[in-house]
């Protein structure tokens, strides 16, 4: 049977099946009242500190959800936006949300309205706080830079998918003296954020944000399930490294064929 990377195969059924089971099992365990531990993530703990700083300085904050649209990363960003707006509403601070995707703009507007309402201050929402700038990468970046300088923002939050514009916006945030917190799964942009931001949330910490901030049992359970999944991947990598090493160095054709047919074949793209 031809194994394709564009479609599932036996290895994917087994691995995904186990991870999905682990996630759902832990979600339902947490919902039943099981106490789950979540380690401290400094970047996420600093969110409230950044909101407080903006309040003290009497200057607005900037929340950027990146330049991609509605996807898993974008939806996570909206969950974090909701938390930031609620905190801002408690302190009476203003948050500007420049958006680069029209579909995400509508969601961001609803999330912002909703967060203000949840804190009992719906009148704090102003339609110009959530701004659709442009769908073009650098047009959006220049718009954000303009807002940073004109409004003299005190805190900048960058949560979402970023590309080459990440350094432009984060460096300008530095120039206006804002406290900056970034979180992105875009691995190529992490170094830029590390160099320019006060706190950077990297990799899967980004997906832990909603659980960490809300302490909602469903999300905490899911987070523990993810850890089981990562542990499974580590085991597979370990076994895979041993099998690939044996297959590469053995002269026993039967053994190589056996390993290829029953393991390596199901991981197309890997070293055989």
């Amino acid at each position: 049977m031809e194994v394709s990377i564009d479609h599932g195969n036996v290895a994917i059924y087994i691995i995904e099946g186990i991870i999905i089971f682990a996630i759902l099992f832990n979600i339902f365990r947490a919902r039943k009242g099981k106490k789950l531990f979540i380690r401290r993530i400094p970047g996420l703990s600093a969110l409230d500190e950044a909101v407080g700083r903006a309040t003290e300085m009497g200057r607005p904050m900037l929340y950027s959800p990146g330049i991609r649209g509605i996807d898993i990363v974008g939806l996570q960003s909206m969950a974090i936006l909701s938390h930031v707006i609620r905190q801002a509403a408690k302190f009476g601070s203003k948050t500007i949300v420049p958006v680069a995707d029209a579909l995400l703009f509508t969601v961001a507007e609803e999330v912002t309205k909703d967060a203000y309402s949840a804190e009992g201050v719906p009148e704090m929402f102003e339609s110009q706080d959530v701004r659709f700038l442009s769908e073009r990468q650098f047009s959006w970046a220049s718009g954000v830079v303009g807002i940073q300088h004109r409004e003299k923002v005190a805190s900048c939050f960058y949560f979402g998918s970023f590309f080459a514009e990440s350094l432009i916006v984060a460096e300008n945030g530095q120039m206006v003296g804002a406290i900056q917190i970034a979180g992105t799964p875009s691995t190529t942009q992490i170094p830029f954020f590390l160099a320019t931001c006060d706190y950077t949330i990297i990799g899967d910490e980004y997906f832990a944000a909603s659980a960490y901030l809300s302490r909602e049992p469903t999300l905490l359970g899911s987070l523990v399930g993810q850890d089981y999944g990562k542990f499974l991947i580590v085991i597979i990598m370990f076994i895979g490294a041993i099998i690939a090493t044996i297959a590469a160095n053995s002269s026993n054709t039967e053994l190589i064929n056996f390993l290829d047919n029953y393991f390596l074949k199901y991981f197309p793209g890997g070293i055989k």
Binding site: Y13, V107, A141, A164
Partner: protein, 288 residues
């Protein structure tokens, strides 16, 4: 069912022109407005159930399409779904443009600080739309005229002027401004690197050493520093270019992959929660 969808897809893909196109567009917009109206008419308690059901069906479609080991009947429906998503995005684009008009319009009307930026937006917006539409209209008109006729020559000349203005607006302004913003990164990298290289902790020292080696490995002068070491044999591993290559290929790649695995599992968990409507917090569990 799949064959019916394929036939429908082919039928919709036939290019329409003139009045036929206008009628098709009008009917499509009317249907979309009707769907939106019907959604708004649904009582809130049922609205959430419908959204949960549609999310589940959508997720199930994509999951089954992927999990079947080869291209299948569902794969053929993927372009149709992409088109639907694009149409929904186009509707949202109107809302985005509306927001731009509201913000900049208010700024211009009230003569607020920086109102001229708002005015520049309106000038740029309408210039590129008008010139772009005129350019396309002239091209379409040209195809209907007899080549060599006086009207043909007049329309052709006007079309050329339009195309030139469009090129000035797009390549001369927009592309150049994009390139300007992109080129700024070079300067920002220097200031960011300066800040990153300040030795504040043991991690910063490690980062600075690794970055210095990589920089030296990528420039000829760096290679000259360890040129005296042999190119083969044990001592060759201490050549700057080999150490740089090792850092990029092994420790760096291992970390990138580790982050990648974490992101993949995180995406899977978030996707699963949204698909099964288990997501909580933010807008997911509010009354619609």
């Amino acid at each position: 069912m799949i064959n019916l969808l394929s036939t429908l897809q082919s039928w919709f893909a036939i290019p329409r022109k003139g009045w036929e196109l206008t009628i098709y567009l009008s009917i499509s917009i009317a249907i979309c407005i009707l769907i939106l109206y019907l959604i708004m008419c649904i009582p809130p308690r049922f609205r959430k159930a419908i959204i949960i059901m549609l999310t589940f069906i959508g997720g199930l479609y994509f999951s089954i399409e992927y999990l079947i080991p080869k291209e299948n009947a569902l794969t053929r429906g993927m372009p149709v779904l992409s088109d639907i998503l694009m149409i929904i995005s186009c509707f949202a684009l109107f809302l985005g443009i509306g927001n731009l008009f509201r913000i900049h319009g208010r700024s211009v009307i009230r003569k607020a600080e920086g109102w001229y930026n708002g005015a520049a937006f309106f000038v740029a917006f309408f210039s590129i739309i008008i010139i772009g539409l005129l350019k396309d209209w002239r091209m379409t008109s040209l195809a209907k005229l007899e080549p060599g006729s006086a009207k043909y020559i007049a329309v052709e000349q006007a079309g050329k002027i339009n195309a030139d203005i469009y090129s000035i607006l797009f390549n001369g302004f927009l592309a150049s401004l994009d390139a300007t913003m992109f080129s700024l990164i070079a300067f920002y990298i220097v200031s960011a690197a300066y800040r990153a290289f300040r030795i504040r902790s043991s991690e910063a020292v490690l980062m600075m050493v690794a970055a210095t080696i990589i920089m030296l490995a990528l420039v000829p002068v760096g290679a000259r520093i360890t040129n005296w070491l042999p190119e083969t044999g044990f001592l060759s591993i201490f050549r700057v270019e080999n150490i740089g290559y090792w850092i990029i290929t092994w420790p760096n790649m291992a970390v990138q992959r580790a982050i990648g695995f974490g992101i993949a599992v995180g995406s899977l968990a978030t996707g699963l929660r949204i698909w099964l409507s288990l997501e909580r917090g933010s807008f997911f569990d509010r009354q619609l």
